[in-house]
Structures are given as structure tokens and as C-alpha cells.
Symmetry: C2
DNA sequence: TAAACACATGAACAGATGTTCATATATAGT
DNA sequence: ACTATATATGAACATCTGTTCATGTGTTTA
């Protein structure tokens, strides 16, 4: 332990440990995609949209009304959710109904929500 | 159904539904905190740090070496993780060891990771 | 006590992100 | 055809975010 070797202008203290952990790291791309995935949940507007869609499918203008935001803002965010394959849509005339497209979402959402709740108690 | 009333320059199509869902929405602050929580996971560097810490506690310079980044960048991100109460630290002389501070994290991480993996298959 | 080291931190900067505004598209009703 | 409506979208803008750089703090060692 406490071997030292310079690299990238940074000293390594536990070279063996670093090498071992390096071997367990998933491919860069997977961790990048994972971060991108969580990023979608990292916005209040999108979280509120998702929560609403847990209750029921909704059209764009109803979501906008519910959240007190412009139709444009909601539409832009729905596109982000759509690109992330978290929601799907269904057209009925000129009205577009959005709903959830994935079962994992609620589980992840709930787990985060539970975490927040417990944090509050402390 | 299909009642209409203007509000915030936005038409409501299903007023009753909107009112019903409005009643189920958690307090603004909770959803805000939830988004803030997920935001922490929404960065590649922090995701990689968390993954590394799943394997073992690590000191700052070893993490920097592992990820090929500067000590400063890592230190800044560790502060974000620390503020979010996702990691804790332990000082040993001038070396600071970081480790995970919460059990939920791995569950949330894994659920997201599983999601990504399944997405890849399609 | 001086120098080396591990880490933290503030300022600055570039790039990303979310909303607004104007406008386009597509469908429905008259 | 013309108008109204529901949604989508591009550009612009302000704000947020992550890294770098320089430097500060605290600890160890010579």
C-alpha cells in the first residue's frame, strides 16, 4: 500500500486498488447513458409531468394548465421525455395524449421519493 | 368532458380530470427536492465516482487517477455528492477517504442501470 | 521551520439547459 | 376556403453547470 506514482499530474496512493477498481468499471458509454437517463429526472417540470402521468394519460394543454405553465414549455419538455422513451403519445384529432411508456419509471421515481421523505425526517 | 375554460392563456380540455390530478400532486417543495436529488445522478463524472465508491472507499487523488481527471474537478464533484448526503468522508492524516453514505443509492443506481441495459437491447 | 503533499475553494470561462416568443403544422368546424 | 384550435418547433435569451486555474488550508516529513 501507499505506493506512489505520478499520472496526469495526480499522485496515486493506492495503485493496486485503483487498478482493481478500474477493472470493474463498466464501459464509458454505459455510464454516460446512465447519467443522461437520470438527467431527465433532474428537472422540476419534468418530474411534475411524470407525476401527473402516473395518475392518468393527459393532453398537452391540460398538463400546461395543471402546472401553470405555457403550452410551449410543456411541449418542449414532453419532447425530452419522448426522446428518453419515458412517455408515448396517442393522437386523437388535434389533441395529443401523453402517457408513460415504461414500467421502471415509477419504481425509480418511488425509490427517489422515499429517499427524499426519509431525508426530511432528519 | 371537453369542457373549456381559459387560464394562463391555456385552454383546458378535461377540467374535471385536471382538478382531480391537482388534488393528488405532492407539495411543490417535495417534487423540487426530488428533481434536485436526481440531478446529482445526472452527470457522468458523479456517476463514475459513485460507481467506484460502490466497490470501495477511496481517497480523492485515487479517484482522480482512476477517472483521469484533475484533483480539483473531483474535489468539486465530491462536494456536490457530500451536500446531497450521498457520500461521507473520513480523514486519515492529510488523506481524505470518501465512501457511500446511503443504502438507497445502489438500489436507485441499479434500477437505472437495468433500464439502460434493456434499452440497449431494443 | 521549511518544504512537500493532499485536499478544498473561489473566480472565471465555456458549454449546456429551460423558458419565452414567434411562427409553423395539422386537424376540426363553419 | 376560411377560421379556430391543439400542438410542435426554431431562435434568442438568461441562467445554471462543470472544468480549469490559481491559491488557500491543514498535515506530514526532512
Amino acid at each position: 500500500m501507499t505506493e506512489k506514482s505520478p499520472c496526469c499530474d495526480v499522485t496515486v496512493i493506492h495503485a493496486a486498488l485503483v487498478d482493481k477498481i478500474r477493472g470493474t468499471m463498466p464501459p464509458e458509454e454505459e455510464l454516460f447513458n446512465l447519467a443522461e437517463f437520470f438527467k431527465v429526472f433532474g428537472d422540476t417540470t419534468r418530474i411534475r409531468i411524470l407525476y401527473a402521468l402516473f395518475q392518468s394519460e393527459m393532453c398537452v394543454c391540460d398538463i400546461a394548465h395543471l402546472l401553470g405553465m405555457t403550452q410551449s414549455a410543456i411541449s418542449h419538455q414532453l419532447r425530452v421525455l419522448k426522446n428518453a422513451k419515458l412517455v408515448r403519445y396517442r393522437k386523437e384529432g388535434r389533441v395529443v395524449y401523453y402517457s408513460l411508456d415504461d414500467e421502471h419509471i415509477k419504481a425509480i421515481f418511488d425509490q427517489g421519493y422515499q429517499h427524499i421523505k426519509e431525508q426530511q425526517e432528519n
